[in-house]
Symmetry: C6
Subunit: 232 residues, 6 copies
C-alpha cells in the first residue's frame, strides 16, 4: 500500500507533502532535480506541474532559504551556481496553488543540495517564511486522513496547527501515526533529512544518482520511527 510513497523518495531531492482537494486530502511529491551547468552562465529555477503564482512564490522562497543556509544544510557553497534547479510536482496536468507546500519544497531542495534523502513514509505541510518560520495552514483534518490512506507513518505539522489535530481528529488516528509540531525550518530539516554523508568531489554526480545502485546492493532503508514528540 505504501510502496509508492517509499519508492518515490528514494533519491535525494524528493519530499512528500500533504494536499487538500475538494475530494479530500492526499499526498503529493515535490521532486527537485539539479542539472549540472558545464559553462559559465547564471543558473535558473524551473517550476513545473501547473503551479499557481502563490505556490511558485513558495518555491522561490524555499530556494532562497536553502541558498542562504547552504553551509548549515551541508551543501557545497557553489551548488546553486553550478546547477539549474527544476522543481516539479506531479501530476502535471492538475493545477495546484497555495502556500502550504512551502515546507515540503524547502525540505526537497535541502535534500537535493545536501545529497541527504528524506525519510520515507514521512509527510509534511506548512507555509514557510523567508526567515524559516513555519506558519499554520488549513485542511489539517483532510490532510492527515489522506496521509493515513497513503500509508504515511510520520506527519510534520506547524506548531500553530497543533490544536487542529486535537479538535478535528479522533484519538485513534492520532495513535496510528507519529506527529511532530514544528516552529521553524530547522526542526523540519532535522526530522526529515537522513544523516549527512561526507562531502566528496563526486557530490554533484551522486546527488541524482542513487538509483544506480545495483539491485542486489539496494540500501536498506530502516524506517525506524523517529521518537514521537507528542504524547498523544
Amino acid at each position: 500500500e505504501n510502496e509508492e510513497a517509499m519508492e518515490r523518495v528514494e533519491r535525494p531531492g524528493v519530499a512528500t507533502g500533504l494536499a487538500w482537494t475538494p475530494m479530500g486530502g492526499d499526498i503529493l511529491f515535490v521532486e527537485a532535480t539539479a542539472m549540472p551547468i558545464t559553462s559559465n552562465r547564471p543558473s535558473t529555477l524551473i517550476v513545473t506541474g501547473q503551479v499557481g503564482d502563490v505556490m511558485r512564490e513558495s518555491a522561490q522562497a524555499a530556494l532562497s532559504y536553502v541558498r542562504a543556509h547552504a553551509a548549515e544544510i551541508g551543501a557545497p557553497p557553489d551548488f546553486y551556481e553550478k546547477h539549474d534547479i527544476h522543481i516539479h510536482i506531479p501530476a502535471g496536468a492538475i493545477p495546484k496553488d497555495g502556500p502550504s507546500a512551502g515546507i515540503t519544497m524547502t525540505v526537497a531542495l535541502a535534500s537535493l543540495f545536501s545529497g541527504r534523502p528524506t525519510r520515507p513514509l514521512m509527510a509534511m505541510t506548512g507555509e514557510v517564511t523567508l526567515s524559516g518560520k513555519v506558519l499554520p495552514v488549513g485542511g489539517i483534518k483532510e490532510k492527515v486522513l489522506g496521509a493515513r490512506r497513503a500509508g504515511i507513518k510520520t506527519v510534520l505539522l506547524p506548531e500553530r496547527n497543533r490544536k487542529d489535530l486535537y479538535e478535528d481528529l479522533k484519538p485513534e488516528i492520532r495513535k496510528e501515526m507519529h506527529f511532530h509540531f514544528i516552529k521553524d525550518v530547522k526542526q523540519a530539516l532535522n526530522l526529515a533529512l537522513e544523516p549527512p554523508r561526507k562531502h566528496s568531489a563526486e557530490h554533484t554526480e551522486t546527488a541524482n544518482s542513487r538509483e544506480k545502485e545495483a539491485p542486489g546492493q539496494k540500501r536498506i532503508r530502516k524506517v525506524e520511527p523517529i521518537a514521537p514528540s507528542m504524547p498523544a
Copy 2:
C-alpha cells in the same frame, strides 16, 4: 502503410507517441534537434507545434531528466551546454496539450543526446515525473487502436494503465501488437533506444546526420520484435 512511421524515426532525436483526439487515436512524432552553439552563451530550449502549457512543461521536465542522467544515457557531459535544443511536434497548426507525451519527449531527447535512434514501429504514451516515474494517462483504448491503424508493432504503456488494456480492448488486438508496461523512464529507454554506438569526436555532427548515408548503403533496420513482456 507503416512506411511513414518507419521513415520518420530514421534519425536520432525522433520518437513516436500516441495521441487522443476527438476523432479517435493517432500517432504523433516528437522531433528533437540539436543545433551546435559555436560561441559562449547559454543554450536554449525551443518548443514548437502549437503546444499548450502542460505539454510545454512536459518538455522541460523531459529535458531536465535527460540532462541529469546524461552519463547513464551515454551522452557527452556537455552536450546540453553546446547545443540549442528544439522540440517540434507536427502538424504545426494543430493545438496539442496534456502530459501524456512526456515519455515520448524523454525518449526523443535521450535519443538525440545519445545518438541512438529509436526503434521503428514502436509507439508510447505516459506522463513522466522529474524523478523518472511513469504515471498513467487516459485514452488507452483509442490510442492503441490508432497505433494499429498506423502500422505500429510495439506499444509502451504505463504499468498503471495495464488494466485498461484488458478491460477496454478485444483480445485479438492484444495479440496483434506487443505491449510493454513500464514503471520508470529507464525501462522505456532500454526498450526504445537502439544499442549505444561508441562515442567519437564526431558525435555532435552525426547526431543529426544519419540521412547522409548514400541510398545504396542504407542501414538495414531489423525491426525484430522485442521479447514481449506481456503474455496476452
Copy 3:
C-alpha cells in the same frame, strides 16, 4: 503575547510594519534575505508574498535607496553585486499592496545590507520617496491599535501623520507606546537599527546567520525604550 514580534526580527533583514486591513490594523513582517552569488552575473531582486504593483515599486525604490546610500548605512560597497536579494512578506497567500510599507522595506534592506538587526517591538509605516523623504499614509488609527494588540512598544510614523495620532486616538493609547515622527529615512534608520558592528571578512556569512548562536549564548536583546520624541 509579543513573543512572536520579538522572535521574528532576531536576524538582520527583518523589520516590522503596520498594515491596514478591512478587519482592522495588524503588524506585518518584511523579510529580506541575501543569497551569495558565487559566479559573475547580475544580481536579482525577488519580491514574493502576493505583492501588488505599487508595493513592488516600493521594494524597488527601497533597494535603490539602500544601494545609493550603502556607505552611510555601513554596508560593503559591493554587497548588492555579490548577492541576490529576496524580499518576502508573509502570509504568502494574502494579496498586499500600497506604498505604506516603503519605510519598513527600506529599514529591512538597510538591516540586511549592514548586518545590524532592527530593534524588537518597534513597528513603522510610511511611504518613502527615492530621495528618502517620508510621506504620510492612511489608516493611522487602525494601524496603531493593531500595533498595540501585537505588543509593539514603539511606533514610527510620518511627521505629516502627527495630527492623525492626536485627532484619532485616545490619550491613554498615546501613553502606552512611544511614538516617533519622521521626515526622512535617515531618522528611521537611526531609530530602528541597532548599532553597527565592525565589518569583517565574514560580514556576508553573518548577515543571515544570527540563529547559529547556541541557545545558552543567546544574545540578550535589551528592549530599552528609545527616548520618546513626543511629549504626548
Copy 4:
C-alpha cells in the same frame, strides 16, 4: 508581368511562396537578411510582417533546420552565431499565419546562409517538420492559380498534395507550369537554390550585397526550366 517576381529574388535570402487568401491565391516573398554581429553576444531571430504564432513557429523550425544542416547546405559553420537573422514577409500590415510557408522560409534561410540565390519564377508551399519532412497543406487550387497570375513558371508542392493538382485544376493549367512534388526539404533545396559558389572570406559581405553590381554588369539569370518531374 513577372518582372517583380524576378526582381525580388535577385539577392540571396529571398524565396517566393504561395498564399491562400479569402480573395484567392497570391504569391508572397519571404525575405531573410543577416546582420553581422561585431561583438560577442548571442544572435537573435527577428520575424516581422504581422506574423501569427503558427507562422512564427515555422520560422523557428526553419532556422533550426538550416542551423542543424549548415554543412550540407554549404554555409559557414559559425554563420548563425555571427549574424542576427531577420525574416520579414511583406506587406507589413497584413496579418499572416499558418504553417504552409515553412518550405519557403527554409529555402529563404538556406539561400541566405549559403549565399546561393533562389531560382526566379519558382514558387513553393508546404509545411516542414523539424526533421525536414514536407507535409501537405490546403488551398492548392487557389495557390496555383495565383502563381500563374503572377507569372510563376515552376511550382514546388508537397508530394501528398499531388492528388489535389489533378483533382482540382484543369489539364491546361498543369501544362503551363512545371510542377515538382517533394517529400523532404533536401529535394526543395536542390530544386530551388542556384549552384553553390565557392566560399571565400567575403562570404558574409556578399550574402546581402548582390545589388552592388553595376547596371551594365547585371548578371544574366537564365531561367532555364528545371527538368519537369511530372508528366502532366
Copy 5:
C-alpha cells in the same frame, strides 16, 4: 509654505514639475538616483510611481537625450554604463501619465549625471522630443496656479504655450512669478541647473550625497531670481 519645494531639490537628481489633475494643478517631484554598478553588466533604467506608458516613454527619451549629450552637460562619459538609473515620481500610489513631464525628467537626469542641483522654487512643464525640441502641453492655467500655491517663483513653459499664459491668466499672476519660454532642452538646462562643479574622482559618490553636509555647514542656496525673459 514653499519649504518642502526647496528641500526636495537639495540633492542633484531632483526637478520640480507641474501636473494637471482633475482637482487643479499641482507640483510634482521627479526624483532620479544613480546606483553604482560594481561589476561588469549592462545598466538598467527603473521607473516607478505608477507611471503610464506615455510617461514611461518620456523617461526613456529623457535618458537617451542625456546619454547622447553627456559631454555638453558635463557628465562623465561612462556615467550611464557605471550606474543603474532609477526615476521615481511620488506619490507612489497615484497613477500618472502623459508626455508633459518630459522636460522635468530630462532636467532631473541631467542634474543627476552632472552633479549640478536644480535651482529651487523653479518648476517646469513640456513635452520633449528625442532631438531636444520642447513641444507645447495642456493645462497651462491650472499648472501655473498650482505652482503659485506651492510657492514656486520661476516657471519654465514651452515657447508654443506662451499665448496660453496671456490668454488664460490674469496679469497679476504673471507679475508674481518669473516665466521663461523655451524652445529646446538646452535652454531649460541653462536655466534650471546650477553652475557645473569641477569633476573629480569622487563625482559618483557626491552625486547622491549632498545630504551628508553637517547641519552647521549647510550650503546657502541663494534663490536669486534668474533674469526674467518675459516683460509681463
Copy 6:
C-alpha cells in the same frame, strides 16, 4: 512657416515623413539617436512615441536594412554594436501605426549611421521591405496636401503610387512641389541624404552634435531643389 520643418532635421538622424490622420494629412518627424555604449554588452533598439506593432516592426526592418548595408551607406562597421539606438516619433501621446513610415525610418537611421543629415523641406512616405523595395501606401492625396501646408518643397513617393498623384491631385499642386517616385531604398537615400562627410575618429561624437556649432558659424543649408524627376 516652414521654419520648424527646417530646424527639426538640422542634425543627422532626423527625417520628415508624411502622416494620414482623420483630420487630413500632416508631416511627422522620425528622430533617431545613438547613445554610445562604453562597456561590452549587446546594443538595444528603443522605439517610443506610442507606436503600434506594425510601425514597430517597420522600425526593426529599417534597422536591419541599415545594419546590413552599413558599408554602402558610409557607416562604420561597428556603429550598431557600439551604440544603443532610440527612434522616437513625436508627439509622444498620439498613437501611431502602419507601415508607411518605413522609408522615413530607414532614411533617419541611415542618416544617423552615416552622419549625413537629411535634406530639409523634403518629406517622404512608403512601406519598405527588408530587401529595400519600396511598396505603395495609402492616403497620398491627404499626405501631399499636408506636406504643402507644412512648407515642404520635395516629396518622395513610391513608384507604384505615381498614378495616385495624377488621379487625386490638381495639376497646380503638382507644380508647386518636386516629386520623386522611388522603387527602392537606395534611390531614397541618394535623394534624401546630404553628401557623405569623410569618416574620422570622431564620427560617433559628431553624429549627434551638429547643434554645437556656434550661431555665427551656422552652416548654410542650401535647399537647392533636386532635379525634378517628374515633368508634371
